[in-house]
């Protein structure tokens, strides 16, 4: 028993080291002054961070990325939540079709998707190629699988169909049933899906580069540009970006945990 536990601990330890080494390396490089022929940096400095935080382009890129994410994820929640709810509860026979549609983004490589989108939206009534709107549309599709799976699983676990039936028999309208019974119980599922989508979109490069490129510089495009000038600065960007994701994850998880302890609607 003891030896098998030791093996498990060793295995998990190795995995943690394997996952952390690149991050630790990046962190060290982002605060390294001189580091070329030693195991650890010879000197440390915060000048890369100071340089980064004094660069207006970084803030602009961050604001643009945030705008794209809030728009895409917000749009996805507003459109997909009622859609998935209606399909799951009232038109379950169409569920397969929705699932297939939601999984499509996995089957289309970003390059193929981007080329198709550019071709489609360069001419005709909706000329949005090269604008952030095309990117929002593409991001909406990119995060579809996460939003769909997360929300649908929450509805299934909840047995939403029966809860809506019960609420309706007690005098609630369909909308009241959704607002007072279903939504408060799937909010943690929505938060998890949103978090996954935000993390994915923060690090999205292919669509951003191909669809808008330098015309609407996002964080990833800024990062790619800085990669050519300074490795230290790039590391500082990556660490800043990871810290933000970590902060966001922590906040959402804390919120979810609090919701579980004190369910919504409690007195």
């Amino acid at each position: 028993m003891k030896s098998s536990l030791t093996f498990h601990k060793l295995f998990v330890g190795l995995l943690v080291i394997y996952l952390l080494i690149p991050l630790v390396g990046t962190l060290l490089f982002s605060i390294a002054g001189k580091w070329d022929h030693t195991i650890l940096p010879e000197s440390y400095t915060m000048k890369w961070y100071i340089e980064l935080f004094q660069d207006e382009r970084f803030y602009d890129a961050f604001r643009r990325t945030l705008f794209l994410i809030v728009m895409s994820v917000g749009l996805s929640v507003v459109i997909m939540l009622p859609t998935i709810f209606i399909i799951t509860v009232y038109f379950s026979k169409w569920e397969g079709l929705l699932q297939a549609a939601a999984m499509l983004p996995y089957g289309v490589p970003p390059i193929v998707g981007a080329v198709g989108l550019i071709k489609l939206y360069s001419a005709g009534p909706v000329q949005i190629a090269g604008t952030p709107w095309i990117l929002i549309g593409a991001y909406f599709i990119t995060i579809l699988p996460f939003m769909y799976q997360g929300i649908r699983n929450s509805l299934r676990t909840l047995n939403a169909v029966q809860l809506v039936d019960a609420a309706e028999l007690l005098g609630a309208t369909k909308f009241q049933a959704f607002r007072t019974v279903v939504f408060p119980n799937i909010i943690s599922g929505i938060l998890v899906s949103t978090l996954l989508s935000v993390s994915l979109l923060f690090s999205e490069f292919a669509f951003a580069n191909l669809l808008v490129g330098g015309r609407f510089e996002t964080l990833q495009i800024y990062l790619s540009d800085k990669l050519n000038s300074s490795g230290h600065l790039t590391s500082a960007i990556v660490i800043t970006y990871y810290s933000m994701i970590l902060l966001l994850t922590g906040t959402v998880l804390k919120l979810t945990f609090r919701n579980k302890r004190n369910p919504v609607g409690s007195k």
Partner: protein, 337 residues
């Protein structure tokens, strides 16, 4: 005057009839049970009454009002689901108060408190569904439906997820509350014993039809066909030709004969107190003995077929496996089908 009327209700899914021309009526305050095997259509009929399923043909009336095309919220029926369907984000008080809040009822607090008192949940008002036992959750679901003072209470196998002891005590409690409020109740179950214990009237369903209706005693003692006989009372159902051969008579008519296992008697072969007055005697041997608590069940093999014989379990009175016996079949207890 009937209070609930189901008129020629028919419903199908994918060209298959789930409810086949069902008609039934209930009096006010009656406790009726829809009894049948899984897939017989009993839950679909209940959900049709609740408005959770549309019917293809037919009408449903409550208190003289046609509710066939009304939405569930307009029907004034209460329902307790098999899995209770309690709202996980609300505590006991809020769950029970939910319907009253939707209807913007005044004196909400006192009504909810009275109901909590009735279902014996005092002290649990602040608890959430996941903090309650199955029995307590069932009481909350019942209180939530009853507080709305529905015209008809629908119960969809509400006791099936509970263990035997709690189930028995809740059966009694449910019946007490139903009588106290004099509320017309339709109960769905596949458990014949539960149906017998609780109902004023039973509707036995098979393949989307009501095959027999009547009081528990009528249903148990006078099954109209083989299905009811086998489903309701573990009847011995024997082919008539085989039975005639066993009892050496040509008088009997019908296709099959049904005999309850508890009316049969066993005597040892050669015993001189054998009384064949009013009985037929069939020779056989004990193939198997099983015990179900207070009942001993013998499987007696005869020349042509096997019979089940139920005896109350008295100390020391037991036939051994393999013993040669004679089964006494009371002539008046044989039901020709």
């Amino acid at each position: 005057m009937s209070y609930v009327t189901i008129e020629q209700v028919t419903k199908g899914y994918d060209n298959q009839l789930v409810l086949n021309n069902i008609s039934l009526t209930l009096k006010k305050g009656e406790f009726a049970t829809l009894l049948g095997q899984s897939g017989c259509g009993k839950s679909t009929l209940l959900r049709s009454i609740a408005g959770l399923e549309d019917v293809d043909v037919g009408r449903i009336l409550i208190d003289g009002k046609d509710i066939t095309d009304l939405s569930p919220r307009q029907r004034e029926v209460g329902m307790v689901f098999q899995s209770y369907a309690l709202f996980p984000n609300m505590n006991v008080f809020d769950n029970i108060a939910y319907g009253l809040k939707m209807k913007k009822v005044k004196n909400l607090k006192s009504k909810v408190k009275n109901m909590i008192d009735m279902v014996d949940l005092i002290g649990k008002e602040e608890s959430y569904p996941h903090q309650l036992s199955g029995g307590q959750q069932q009481r909350v679901a019942l209180a939530r439906a009853l507080v709305m003072e529905p015209k008809v209470l629908l119960l969809d196998e509400p006791l099936s997820a509970l263990d035997a002891k709690i189930r028995k005590s809740l059966q009694k409690e449910l019946k007490r509350i139903q009588k106290e409020l004099d509320i017309t109740t339709i109960f769905v179950t596949h458990d014949q014993e539960e149906a017998m214990t609780m109902s004023d009237r039973i509707f036995v369903m098979n393949k989307g039809q009501v095959v027999q209706s009547g009081s528990p005693s009528e249903i148990y003692t006078s099954p109209v066909n083989t299905f009811v006989a086998k489903f309701i009372g573990n009847y011995n159902v024997c082919n008539m030709e085989v039975f005639r051969k066993l009892v050496r008579t040509t008088e009997l008519k019908g296709n099959e004969v049904a005999i309850r296992p508890e009316v049969l008697q066993l005597v040892s072969v050669g015993e001189d107190r054998l009384d064949l007055q009013g009985n037929w005697g069939i020779k056989g041997f004990i193939k198997d003995v099983s015990m179900a608590g207070n009942v001993l069940r013998y499987e007696v093999e005869t020349e042509e077929c096997a019979f089940h014989v139920d005896y109350l379990h008295h100390r020391g009175e037991m036939f051994e496996q393999g013993a040669r016996v004679q089964i006494l079949v009371p002539k008046k207890e044989c039901i020709m089908l």
